[in-house]
Amino acid sequence: MTFFFEVLIGGLLAGVMYSLVALGFVLIYKASGVFNFAQGAMVFFAALTFISIVERGMNFWLAIAVTLAVMIALGFAIERVVLRPLVNQPQITLFMATIGLAYFVEGLAQGLWGAQVHAIELPIRDVPFTVAGVNVSQFDLFISGTAAVLVIALALFFNYTGIGRALRAVADDHQAALSIGIPLERIWGIVWAVAGFVALVAGLLWGSRTGVQFALTFTALKALPVLILGGFDSIAGAIVGGLIVGAAEKLAEVYIGSSLGLNIGTGIENWFPYALAILFLLVRPEGLFGEKRIERV
């Protein structure tokens, strides 16, 4: 039983990492209806930029500030240069544009900083400790704490500031928002900047877990089942979806994998979340927390 809990908790904590990436998708999707395929590339860009300037001798905290500024600038630039000219275009056009954008951002990151793998050292020790006989990773706990702070901060921002309210208004009804004088373009710029900030947090944490390498961009794909489970337009859904995917893939790996006689590490966790997501699509296509349209007669 202890072993089961260890796997479960390990999975949940790892799932928080997926939640962080999914969060970036949700923000942009909610506000502008764009599925931003480039979110993973932005995570990679943030992590690589950060580690490269740290390796060139910059102080850790200063490097975070500088990377944050770069990510916010990148967010605004993407809105201005890529998405604004495509306003009123069909969704599929916007989606294609973000695919192009993903390759561009990846290329830009590697062009600027080179393609070798880096390690990020966060100032926390990764020593597991024991609660009631269950081993818990300190590092994973730190990640969860960070994610919690981030989500609370976003929730406060969305619910209690004028800009946050305007963001939700735009997400609800573009036309109406425009009619009362909310400048859509500025709001979208802000959303992309916030998504850039979320990408930085995800990039730092992922980078310190797996190393900063090109494969980071594929973390974006793991966010897809998370989004299908949680709902594309729900912040709560991104969190819960991430936890479910994290826990499910670890449990599947350990229990289903071993009962099939596979060795641990043969990669059931690579496809299991997708299978789960497809099952889920059949049952509840709007996700656990997705907003249903309010129907009134």
Binding site: N88, L178, G181, R296
Partner: protein
Amino acid sequence: MDQSANSTLLSVNNIEVIYDHVILVLKGVSLGVPEGQIVALLGANGAGKTTTLKAVSNLLSAERGEVTKGSIEFRGTRVDRLTPAELVRRGVIQVMEGRHCFEHLTVEENLLTGAFTRKASRTEIRRDLELVYSYFPRLKERRASLAGYTSGGEQQMTAIGRALMARPSMILLDEPSMGLAPQLVEEIFGIVKNLNEKEHVSFLLAEQNVLMALRCADYGYILENGRVMMDGTASDLAGNEDVKEFYLGLSKAGRKSFRDVKHYRRRKRWLA
């Protein structure tokens, strides 16, 4: 400049509107809204009322519509190239047809979004919120409900209240009566009249409900097929035999078109 031009808040001069580069919808519409008045823009479904309002508020581009001729002036300066946000800052705001409340925001949050363009203090906003609630007491009761779950009448009130929070001098109000029960329509028109008298907000009111609109308005224009076919004071229009026949349903013959009546053809009052 003559005297009357000084008190004209909004003037629309012979505008033409084309959708998708080819569909000509407004074929030279001119109208004026004097400061402090309620002007009704009347006509059947598809006459071009919404298009006219959106041309003023500059919401056409979002629908691939474009003003290709004519000009629009607010307080004597041209406003046809301004963004909707800039227009709201200058005091012109539109309440769209079909209300368009933010469904997943509460009624009070909806109202607060109306103040987005203002640089006002919290206390000022609070005071204006109470002012809106004093005109729409029902909204105060429902302040914490999601707008999507309120009734059609409450949504219409929310949409008007939200516009008021921008402190406009002029509201472009599109079909407030749509889909509402008669006594609710009466209530809302009463509040509009009240706002006009006490808060000095001018209105350009697009309506199919000609009877109700003429009771509330000072002046009216009748739009048909993208042209102004007739205009006059509200009481003149209400007393006009043809208006009675075609729009107030007071004839047995059923509704005909003004186009069937020769002497109203192609009035171009503003070009004369």
